[in-house]
């Protein structure tokens, strides 16, 4: 969990070299395609023929597959099971068990939904594995995103691991005094109290001085901001973005057409 907030893997690959906005466009295009395309197998095809190869092109296949195995597939699998078992649609009953009815339609629905979740999270994961957060934020700021958003995102990514570490220290201390998940309900609720003190109040009172510090460094300056990082945006990037947008439009138009 701790290492997971700095997803970025520093390597050189064609995917790393793409402009961040291109990669972001790609993410949204994949998501929209998987939800909007009229063809049932779109998300599945995207996973096997696009996302998986992209992880190799980006030389992050190891990290991607690990995340997929640990996080993405379990989550999608769980969703698939829930929906196959409980979805009350369909007539073609495959089998009955207790009060549950598993129908062909429910399974088909669950299968496409799970794939959509996989597309959604996988494409984000690939983006984050191959794009440094500062790079993404600098590029978006340059294109007009208010710089305060960049501040919020990057600051959050840095604060969370710090707070998690603090919380784990406090919990470990309480464990050594006999708290565990088998403890009584009251005891477990009681465990929250000492956490709120140092953790929540501690991090809140820092807010004032940090606000002063960044104001002193021109955070609210009315000048147009500049950026230390130079982020290339090639002709290829621009064409790729155009192509992605067109493909999404085509998918939606054909959906309307067919319905």
């Amino acid at each position: 969990m701790h290492e997971r907030l700095s997803f970025y893997v520093h390597r050189d690959s064609p995917l790393h070299r793409l402009n961040p906005l291109t990669k972001l466009t790609m993410v949204f295009a994949f998501i929209l395609l998987s939800f909007g395309s009229p063809w049932y197998w779109t998300p599945h095809i995207l996973i096997v023929l696009v996302i998986l190869p992209l992880s190799f092109i980006g030389r992050v296949q190891r990290e991607y597959l690990l995340t997929a195995a640990r996080l993405i597939f379990p989550a999608a699998g769980f969703l698939f099971l829930m929906q196959s078992l409980f979805q009350p649609i369909g007539q073609t009953v495959w089998f009955r068990w207790w009060v549950l009815e598993v129908t062909h339609e429910a399974v088909a629905f669950a299968f496409v939904n799970a794939a959509r979740i996989i597309v959604m999270v996988s494409s984000f994961t690939l983006l984050l594995l191959t794009t440094h957060p500062s790079e993404l934020m600098s590029d978006l700021t340059r294109r007009g995103l208010p710089s305060q958003f960049a501040y919020v995102i990057i600051s959050t990514l840095q604060i969370i691991p710090q707070m998690q570490a603090k919380a784990q220290t406090i919990i470990a201390a309480q464990r050594s005094r006999g708290l565990d998940t088998q403890s009584s309900f009251v005891k477990r609720v009681g465990a929250l109290v000492p956490l709120v003190g140092p953790l929540v109040f501690g991090s809140l009172v820092e807010v004032e001085e940090r606000a002063i510090a960044i104001e002193a460094r021109g955070f609210t300056s009315s000048h147009a901001k500049t950026s230390l990082r130079e982020i290339p945006d090639s002709r290829f990037d621009q064409i790729l973005r155009g192509a992605l947008i067109v493909s999404v439009l085509l998918a939606f138009v054909s959906r309307l057409w067919l319905s």
């Binding site: 710090q162 820092e206 001085e209 510090a213 021109g218 955070f219 009315s222 500049t226």
Partner: protein, 279 residues
């Protein structure tokens, strides 16, 4: 020529009764290095915030009198213009890390990005500032991975790089060892010699004696003394008013009563004490 002028400045924080600054008058000349001393709660930090524009723009409250820096009056200005002239670094280094950057180099460039310095200019300025405060070797580290003393240097560098006309520092060496403190005071001295005006709130009187041009002693929000370090820091008024004073001064004062200290002038630093006892 005075670049900083405070005239009859009185200030009350919001929701409080008693003023924290009372009738403060202060003039600082361009390129001067002025130290502000005072017991806890004397109002040193409040004075720093006033010079840096955070009083009244950030803290609100009630400010009367005139606060003028580089010919602009604080009420006539806004914080984001004010900070272009006056830089502020303060005590707790951890809270001064912006959080928006992953490396020390980027952290120091943060202010320059905000005020729109072109990229080509940015890099050399950051490199120069890093070299000045002696942290070039930390450039690629995460600001969060540093020691308190190193973080204080980063905080100072982040402000220096913006090249303010007036540099306001509130106990900027609280987490440094004597070697670090000496180096940082050296840097501040250099900046003053290059024409930057420096106002420094500080407890470490021996260092002030060695480096500052002038000392202002603050007590209960009022200016008690204002003058040359040798005079102010050895004044008998200080000890009575509960200031922390140099142990060399107090030793020499005792010695003087016993007739062992011959000079008129009492020492503040070890060097002065040694020299005085020798003669």
């Amino acid at each position: 020529m005075a670049i900083v002028t405070l005239q009859n400045v009185t200030y009350k924080y919001p929701l409080t009764e008693a003023p924290v600054l009372q009738n403060v008058n202060l003039q600082v000349n361009e390129g001067e290095f002025v130290a502000v001393i005072g017991p806890n709660g004397a109002g040193k930090s409040t004075l720093c915030y006033t010079l840096a524009g955070f009083v009244p723009h950030f803290f609100k409250g009630e400010l009367t009198g005139i606060v003028e820096v580089a010919g602009v009056e604080t009420h006539q200005s806004s914080l984001n213009e004010w900070v272009l002239n006056v830089g502020l670094a303060f005590q707790n280094p951890f809270n001064q890390i912006s959080g928006a950057k992953y490396t020390v180099f980027e952290e120091i460039a943060f202010g320059l990005e905000n005020i729109g310095v072109p990229r080509g200019e940015m890099k050399p300025r950051v490199e120069k500032a890093l070299a000045l405060t002696g942290i070039s070797d930390l450039a690629d580290r995460s600001p969060y991975s540093l020691s308190g003393g190193q973080q204080q240097r980063v905080a100072l560098t982040s402000i220096l790089v913006m090249e303010p006309k007036v540099l306001v520092l509130d106990e900027p060496t609280s987490q440094m060892d004597p070697i670090g403190t000496r180096e940082v005071f050296g840097v501040i001295r250099t900046m003053a010699e290059r024409g930057m005006t420096v106002v420094l709130a500080e407890h470490k009187v021996e260092w002030i004696a060695a480096f500052a041009d002038r000392v202002v002693a603050l007590k209960d929000g009022q200016v008690l003394l204002d003058g040359k370090p040798g005079e102010v820091l050895t004044s008998p008024l200080l000890e009575e008013a509960g200031f922390g004073i140099s142990r060399y001064t107090s030793t020499a004062r005792k010695a003087k009563e016993m007739g062992l200290w011959k000079k008129d002038q009492l020492p503040v630093t070890l060097e002065e004490a040694v020299e005085g006892f020798r003669s």
